[in-house]
């Protein structure tokens, strides 16, 4: 070996050591100094030593970029540069040909990469340096103590730990997790159903009383005419009461009317002479309850699935929903809890700006009536008010109340407390049945932010019609987008189903130049003015103008919950406990012992049967396991018992590949071929069997992944990853060793466990 080569390699090694040291110490200046110096050195030598020039240049470039990546704290850049460095370093080896070195370097880089990726995952199970040592005496005790002493120094440096955000989390069956119990507020669902019946009833009544004809939805004008004749009230959760102004109209409830409703509602006369009461039948009500729980379970399962937690379990218990989430990560638990509980009830209601005077105008609401020190004030604004008879845009004065949060009396209240206070006050106002008060956030720009950000400082009212024109049921898709004009604010775009799109077009067409409130979970998100009829069935929900990161987070969450559908009723949390593994710690410990024993037996057996070739196969199997786990870790996979089955199968496959190859090599040797030719032929002829076996499993894996759900999907992922790893380690990596034996070491006899 030329002396210059040695020096170049040395400088490379110095670069690695310095970089590693820098990572350990978290010292940036050291890393930059060290690796750039080494890079320059290696480069200088590399240019002057022709045969290994490419490798040296590559190494120095990798070392240089590694230094830059450390400087700019780009961990994954550093990671890739480090792997390239290792790869290139193999090019400097003084034996075998270039192709072999290239391949070997690749294998080494993959190996190093998997170790780094897996390190944070195994870190938790490494013993601490100050943990009590095992007390057993004798050889085993000494060995255990020595093992622990070594292992306690193998902790993952914080630098890597902080930057590798993924890892393998043991599943519910292996390590337990969080158990959340929610109660479905089924009364909500019943009330909803009642509202639905009431709406239908109004439509039917309007038709029966000759106020409306045809299949189209009854208009607001017709509704107010209807209200003058018969008032539809909803006094209790399951009850609708009709109050006729003219008792004679009561007899007009003909058979057509009763037929439509009496399947689900029970009719009774009274309590007063001019009243008829409808009550949801008991069996229908139980059905609504059951369906609400089932639907809530489905929705929660979908949300949990979309969060990428395939291994969470969702069950029902009476009117409770139980969600069990594996792991112990507080942050992810918080996200899950928020996402699961979002009702995601979306409604679109018209704003009655002109009518607001009746409740919030100066005649109805005297300035003296406003409570002192609560932060409530009266506001007026000019609002659009539809079109006049000739099609010109009109405007009206809209009145509203505003609440400034955190007045001196309530300095530390939250926005929600503030809203509760505001709502309590609005309850004292008299609002007619067909109207309701909506609440929208009031924001103020924050000084000195660039781009300008806004902060919510209070709430305001919007005077709405009670009837919702459109609901979230009509949504088919939701996606997050960013508005380039409006300070890059995030929004969620909605697409309606064809029926929803028609309804949307109809509503917007009938209400040009009026305001339209988009209400999400009882809070008005925005109330844009309808400029013209909107076809096509798209709408957007804005995310406000706060901190962009929070906006994006909120937008993503909203997108997810809207896509997975609204919950039929609210979920109220009833208990939250941490649970142990469902397989039981005792049985896992025993099984781990058994698994270790079995694995050792297999490795020993392979060595006995194939001798040195067996050792190669053993190394390939271990490497396969390492690589599979590393790949699964990058998906943040959850390891469960079924997952382990998938792992076991692919390890079996990896063993099988080597058995096939070794058997073929034996056959070829038996046929009298030279060692080198036998290895060549062994690999070539075993290949079809290996690839066919792997391909069939790979295909099944892909299809199970596409069409399966829950744990089936989990097995599919491990199968696919395992098959690819098995091909790599079982064929590609072992071939390198055999090639080295027959071409590098030029062995005369191959150690495959039989003499020829």
């Amino acid at each position: 070996m030329p002396r210059k080569n040695v020096l170049a390699i040395l400088s490379g090694v110095v670069a690695v050591v310095l970089a590693a040291l820098a990572v350990w110490q978290d010292g940036q200046s050291l890393a930059i100094l060290g690796s750039s110096a080494a890079a320059v050195g290696a480069f200088a030598w590399g240019v002057r030593v022709p045969p290994r020039r490419t490798a040296l240049v590559l190494m120095s470039m990798a070392a240089g970029s590694a230094a830059l990546f450390v400087r700019f704290d780009s961990f994954w850049g550093l990671f890739v540069a480090g792997l390239v460095f290792i790869w290139a370093a193999f090019g400097l080896l003084p034996f075998m040909d270039g192709t072999w070195r290239l391949k070997a370097g690749f294998v080494a880089a993959v190996f190093a990469g998997s170790i780094v990726v897996l390190w944070p995952t195994v870190d938790g199970s490494l013993p601490l340096a100050n943990a009590p040592a095992p007390t057993s005496t004798g050889f085993v005790g000494t060995l255990a103590r020595a093992g622990r002493a070594v292992a306690s120094h193998l902790h993952c440096p914080a630098y890597i730990k902080d930057r590798v955000s993924f890892g393998i989390a043991p599943g519910l069956d292996l390590s337990g997790g969080l158990r959340l119990v929610y109660t479905v507020e089924v009364e909500d669902a019943i009330r909803d159903k009642r509202d639905h019946f009431a709406d239908e009833m109004r439509q039917e009544l309007a038709t029966t009383l000759g106020l409306h004809s045809g299949d189209a939805r009854v208009t607001r004008d017709e509704l107010s005419k209807l209200d003058a004749k018969v008032h539809v009230a909803e006094p209790e959760a399951a009850i609708i009461r009709l109050k006729f102004r003219d008792v004679g109209d009561k007899s007009k409830l003909d058979e057509r009317f009763t037929k439509k409703f009496l399947g689900e509602l029970a009719e009774s006369q009274g309590p007063a002479d001019d009243e008829v009461t409808f009550k949801i039948r008991a069996d229908v009500e139980s059905q609504i309850r059951e369906r609400a729980v089932a639907q809530a379970k489905d929705t929660v399962s979908r949300r949990v699935d979309e969060l990428g937690l395939r291994e969470a379990a969702v069950t029902t218990r009476d009117e409770d929903i139980i969600v069990e989430v594996p792991g112990n990560n507080e942050q992810s638990f918080r996200d899950i809890k928020e996402t699961i509980r979002r009702t995601a009830r979306l409604e679109f209601k018209m704003v009655d700006d002109a009518g607001s005077t009746a409740v919030f105008g100066q005649a109805a609401l005297k300035a003296d009536d406003l409570p002192e020190g609560e932060g409530i004030a009266q506001y007026s604004e000019v609002a659009p008010d539809g079109l006049d008879s000739s099609g010109h845009r009109k405007s009206a004065t809209a009145w509203s109340a505003r609440m400034s949060c955190q007045p001196p009396k309530y300095v530390s209240e939250s926005l929600n407390d503030c809203l509760a206070r505001f709502k309590a006050w609005t309850k004292t106002l008299s609002v007619p049945d067909d109207h309701t008060i909506g609440f929208e956030g009031v924001t103020e720009p924050v000084d000195g932010t660039e781009p300008l950000q806004f902060k919510q400082v209070g709430w305001r009212t919007l005077y709405l019609y009670t009837r919702s024109e459109l609901t979230g049921d009509y949504i088919t898709d939701a996606s997050t987008g960013q508005d380039q004009q409006n300070f890059g604010a995030y929004y969620v775009a909605l697409s309606f189903s064809p029926a929803g799109a028609d309804r949307f077009e109809e509503v917007t067409g009938a209400n040009v130049n009026r305001r339209f409130a988009i209400i999400l979970d009882d809070i008005v998100d925005s109330a844009p003015v309808i400029k013209q009829k909107i076809g096509g069935g798209h709408a957007t929900i804005s995310m406000g103008a706060g901190d962009p990161e929070k906006q994006l987070h909120d937008a993503r969450q909203l997108e997810l919950v809207l896509r997975s559908g609204a919950l039929p009723a609210q979920l109220s949390p009833s208990s939250e406990v941490t649970i142990g593994p469902s397989l039981g710690r005792d049985s896992i410990a025993e099984a781990a012992k058994g698994g270790l024993l079995g694995a050792t037996a297999v490795l020993l057996f392979m060595t006995l049967y194939y001798r040195k070739s067996g050792v190669v196969a053993d190394i390939a199997v271990i490497f396969n396991l390492l690589l599979q786990l590393a790949v699964l870790a990058t998906f943040s996979a959850t390891m469960t018992l079924p997952g382990i089955a998938g792992l076991a199968l692919t390890i079996g496959m990896s063993v099988d590949a080597n058995v096939l190859i070794n058997e073929r090599i034996r056959e070829e040797l038996r046929g009298g071929k030279s060692v080198r030719a036998a290895v060549e032929a062994g690999y070539t002829r075993a290949w079809p069997s290996i690839i066919d076996g792997h391909m069939t499993i790979f295909i099944s894996g892909l299809i199970l992944l596409q069409y399966g759900s829950g744990p089936v999907k989990g097995v599919a992922v491990t199968l696919i990853v395992g098959i690819l790893c098995s091909l790599f380690t079982g064929v590609f990596c072992t071939r390198l060793v055999f090639d080295w034996w027959v071409r590098g070491a030029k062995v005369k006899r191959l150690s495959v466990g039989a003499e020829f």
Binding site: I579, K593, F605, P642, G714
Partner: protein, 411 residues
């Protein structure tokens, strides 16, 4: 080390007339077992009874499991709850549920003075006053709870005597049973003595009152399944689609003759595993499904390896019969087969012997599946391929004959 003298050919196909019917019989029996007595779906699929219990004495999950098993409840799920106030807080899930027969349901409805909508209410003020005349009676899926509804404020004591008047039904002992759940809509929950209560009582008899005090059972309730029909259906569909694609792949890579063998062998293995599970009355859980998928994967690989040799030998030895080729190919791959399945079995035996509960069952499924998978490559896939081959050969011969004779007739 070598298992067999190289070059030795065993006559596997000579005994195929014993093994093929045997396989057919095995599949047939498994299919029958699937319907009668039918698979024993575990709590994952069927739901079960969940008991939340706080023991009065320190116990570990293992001893709780063995105690629950020893009092007659099979394969329970034991989950420890981390609870600072109650250090020995466990969730026990068993698949047993209490069942109320339809007769009992009818008797209970009558006793509670319930009538269907539309009929006149029972006019018996002594037995059925308004305060004890149910307007709704609902039985929970677990058969351990009745919820009823009344028009006016219910008379709990009266309701209690009504329920107890039905033979074969007993109430769970508790001061608040029956309980008014919702005073506004007059809902009452009546808790019956259920399997969960039985479990607690038997545990008390077994472990003593200090371990299972009177207030140990925090909650006894029926829980729904984790995986519903949706998962079962999606798993079935996915497997069906996978079969189609694998047949396509094999038909392309090998020959149309080979494709059915692999699929039939896989179905055979899956059926055998399921059959053994039903026979041993083991629970079918989500893990079992995963095990069956794994077995199918293993079986496929094993069959393909044998096929590959057959294909190779078919090309090399033109003059030999298909059965001879199969013998030769299976013999040549025999030491590989034994080695691979041996190694795989070896790695699982450890887990099987040391594992408990679900893990043991899981490993059992894999062990049975691997043995079946190895066997089916030789005695299911290969004979089927041979049979298809002879049929196809005969068909082509006849076609050729026809083609030869047709022009002869014309002239």
């Amino acid at each position: 080390m070598e298992f067999f003298k190289p070059g030795r050919v065993f006559d596997f196909m000579a005994v195929r007339w014993f093994w093929v019917p045997f396989s057919l019989l095995a599949v047939l029996v498994s299919t029958i077992l699937c319907f009668y007595p039918g698979p024993n779906y575990g709590t994952d699929f069927k739901g079960g009874t969940e008991v939340e219990i706080a023991f009065g004495k320190a116990l570990d999950a293992g001893s709780v499991r063995s105690a629950v098993e020893s009092v007659g409840f099979k394969s329970p799920d034991i989950v420890q709850v981390v609870d600072a106030n109650r250090p020995n807080h466990f969730l026990i899930r068993v698949q047993d549920v209490s069942a109320i027969t339809d007769d009992e349901k009818g008797a209970l409805r009558a006793a509670l003075c319930y009538v269907d909508d539309g009929q006149a209410p029972v006019a018996d003020p002594a037995r059925c006053p308004d305060s004890a005349r149910a307007t709704e009676v609902k039985f929970s899926a677990g058969g351990d709870k009745i919820s009823t509804r009344y028009d006016v404020d219910p008379d709990v004591e009266k309701i209690k005597t009504q329920v107890l008047s039905v033979p074969g039904v007993s109430l769970r002992a508790s001061a608040t049973n029956p309980q008014i759940l919702n005073p506004r809509d007059h809902r009452v929950e009546i808790q019956l003595l259920s399997k969960g209560d039985q479990l607690v009582e038997r545990l008390r008899a077994k472990l003593g009152v200090d371990a299972v005090p009177d207030d140990a059972a925090l909650r006894v309730e029926w829980v729904g399944p984790k995986a519903g029909k949706l998962l079962r259906d999606s798993a079935r569909n996915a497997i069906a689609i996978a079969i189609v694609f694998i047949m396509l792949y094999l038909a392309l890579r090998f020959d149309l003759r080979f494709a059915p063998g692999v699929i039939v062998a896989c179905v055979h293995d899956a059926m055998v595993v399921i059959g053994v599970f039903i026979l041993l009355r083991k629970e079918i859980t989500l893990s079992t499904i995963a095990a069956v998928i794994t077995v199918v994967g293993y079986s496929m690989n094993d069959t393909v390896v044998v096929y590959d040799r057959i294909r190779e030998n078919l090309g090399r030895h033109r003059g030999k019969s298909f059965a001879q080729i199969i013998n030769m190919s299976v013999s040549e791959t025999l030491s590989r087969t034994i080695l691979t399945s041996g190694a795989t079995l070896l790695s699982m035996l450890g887990l099987f012997f040391y594992g408990t509960g679900v893990i043991k069952d899981f490993m059992l499924a894999l062990l049975v599946g691997i043995v079946a998978g190895t066997y089916s490559s030789i005695y299911v896939a290969a004979p089927l391929t041979e049979w298809i081959d002879t049929r196809m050969a005969r068909a082509t011969r006849e076609k050729k004959k026809e083609r030869l004779s047709a022009p002869a007739r014309a002239t």
